[in-house]
Symmetry: none
Amino acid sequence: MSVDVAIILVSPQLGENIGAASRIMANFNFADLRIVNPRDGWPNSKAEIMSACGIKVLENAKIYDRLHDAVADLEEVYACTARARKMYKEYVGLKDHISDIKDNGISANKIGVMFGSERCGLLNEEIIYAKKIININTDDKFPVLNLAQAVAIICYEYYHCLRSPIDKVSKYKKRDAKMSEMIFFLETLKDNLDETGFFKDEDRKVKMYENISNIFVRNDLSGQEIRTLVGAFDALYNFNKK
Amino acid sequence: MSVDVAIILVSPQLGENIGAASRIMANFNFADLRIVNPRDGWPNSKAEIMSACGIKVLENAKIYDRLHDAVADLEEVYACTARARKMYKEYVGLKDHISDIKDNGISANKIGVMFGSERCGLLNEEIIYAKKIININTDDKFPVLNLAQAVAIICYEYYHCLRSPIDKVSKYKKRDAKMSEMIFFLETLKDNLDETGFFKDEDRKVKMYENISNIFVRNDLSGQEIRTLVGAFDALYNFNKK
């Protein structure tokens, strides 16, 4: 799916939030930042400081006086807001919205998500441009997210839904230990423990050796790790020995 | 699933980020904020300003000098970091981690996620306490997230994963070991090995202790198993001693 996503900040107040929004966009490979009527004018030095790796996104941000110019070229616009609205418009949780895109695709090449000001969110007159209202479901008591964190969560979900190449699974490297090494390690340990009197009696020895073996065998130990353990147990075993 | 989640900020620098972390925790109904060694001391007025609806979370935050005290009562700890590590430890994308929890449940009642400082993230010596490293997959060019935005994404995913109804019963038995037991075991082992001369020199000691810790921490050890290991190592250490 190749879909361009624009992030649209409507009347944002704090430069820090604008900067942090540009940074998270860079993290998730979104480049199209649009800012409508920023309270403190433009450019904004606090936004620059917070942008970090997002400085290019910030420098390329487009500034608008009116929201309708900012959304003009898009095919679909969503409104991200915490407050329920008395509006006859689909109101969908973000997780459901993402599932829907995964199941059914998205019927646009160029979409945008609007976010309102820190003080009061999106106004109804702004939401009219939205196809749907997207809600980041939260605890009922505290539904209002910080602007930059809301942008972060939206970018994160869109990235994984629209952009991410097949999950970059980076499981740890395969173990290179052979069972023979594991067995040598366990049997040496058993013999040494036996010599110290650790097992107390033969009955307990069987059970305790089982328990100890389980601890190590179910773990994916590399050859190097087994050698480290052999060395560590040896050092203890030989300590104080003449 | 009823799982308590602690958010652990290790050596955070900016009050603004600490405040924004507390706010997003309140949004997603998490209450357990732990802060290790905040650069600018405590309390922090900038954190208070940014906390908004998270002020209660912030006021109840626990402050620690040492990370190991901050994780002592937890059963499982994860490290959230962007940088790949030369460590033999599972490194998993957040989406995969969440899928795994959804499919298999989680084998702990009380977990924590650690985040490092803004300047350099988590150190290897901090990551040793983690069962897995969680990576918020991003665009390859810009992998480093703002701290408060990283916390936001983790809280968002955990909220939806741990609070939405999940039919499957965890396939893992609940582990009853606390991190404090694990840490006691590891530190005793380190001291005893040190005494035997196992580490040879200080440089190697750091790396080898890291390796040994990783072997045990990533494993799901029960309290009983840890006690068995303590006993086994003790028996070897004291062998031949007068």
